[in-house]
Symmetry: C2
Subunit: 204 residues, 2 copies
């Protein structure tokens, strides 16, 4: 059976530990491709084009929006960020799974354009614990803390738009659950029904 | 979060190895309850009431149909077989997962009465291999072989009514995939959305 890859979309409130889960998951599952975003902001020290981001100028970014070449995009202050469709779709067609770590607004745009994605929301063990984690990062001003933490509950209330949730209590457990979700999706009838029936029809 | 258990419905053509997969799965996952069927046929040597089957007389069986006390039932020649709702639902309410190994007609009845079940179809690696397995059992007459094998493709073509499929090529792999499916379902948002939102609302 020639199977299409799965688009895995990981989302969750700021500070919940999405990045840590994704990193460990990708280290253990090296066949899964991480999607690389495009941005108009300047590269920071150590950032490489095509590795950290695709660095684009503003004109190219606007052109890509115009041509519907983004799976999702956003403008944050003066900078544009987006996920180019091309690389993602090429990998999926080749049967490779692609992971997208993204914010909720982005995830909702992806869902509209590619509902076959698997949409996963990472939850904190509690709001109290989320607060502690944001504070521990230490990089937050009072204002940005309030902004991040204030939006956490409203983000969680959008969970009904997602297929799965994970509670980030124990990292290994969360990564194991993520692996199970992907394995289960590879056994989902609606995804591969045509392949299955074709295979058995050919035998008749 | 006080979570309801999951009803796991396992189905597949005759000879595919459902029983072997279920047995190994239950041995490894002792917290999962196997549903016990009711039947009007007489106990065979070694069969125990409440363990192998609930043995009922024909009148009691008809009464239970009348009172809609079966999740599914069928009459095969002179005997009745069915899955009593009560024990299944009591376990699910207690948060315990219940496994039901059943034929396709039965699975479709269960789906109608309890669409929250997880419906899993076991596929053979190929029709040729299924044929070999039925022959190897050796217990088949020519006629019963034709009947069993003849219905295999028409059963497989009903796979679209199922949530997941498993290919029974390698027993351990199939059992591992079954475990992943159940773990994934325990992280499904649509199943536990209300619990999740309630938990975080209480913290506000």
């Amino acid at each position: 059976m020639n199977k299409k890859g799965i688009l895995i979309v990981i989302c969750g409130p700021s500070g919940v530990g999405k990045g840590t889960i994704c990193k460990k998951f990708l280290t253990k599952n090296t066949d899964i491709k991480l999607s690389i975003s495009a941005t108009t902001r300047s590269p920071r020290a150590g950032e490489e084009h095509g590795v950290s981001y695709y660095f684009l100028d503003a004109q190219k970014f606007e052109d890509m929006i115009e041509k519907d070449e983004f799976l999702e995009y956003a403008r944050v202050y003066d900078n544009g960020y987006g996920t180019p469709k091309k690389a993602v779709f090429e990998n999926l067609e080749k049967g490779e799974d692609v992971l997208l770590e993204i914010d909720i607004q982005g995830a909702m745009q992806v869902k509209e354009k590619y509902p076959d994605g698997v949409f996963i929301f990472i939850l904190p063990p509690s709001l109290e614990e989320l607060k502690n984690r944001i504070v521990k990062r230490g990089s937050e001003t009072e204002e940005s803390f309030k902004k991040r933490f204030g939006s956490a509950f409203s983000e969680i209330s959008k969970i009904e738009n997602f297929d799965y949730y994970l509670v980030n209590n124990d990292l290994d457990k969360a990564v194991g659950q993520l692996e199970s979700i992907i394995m289960a999706e590879k056994n989902r009838v609606s995804r591969y029904k045509d392949c299955i029936l074709k295979k058995f029809e050919e035998e008749l």
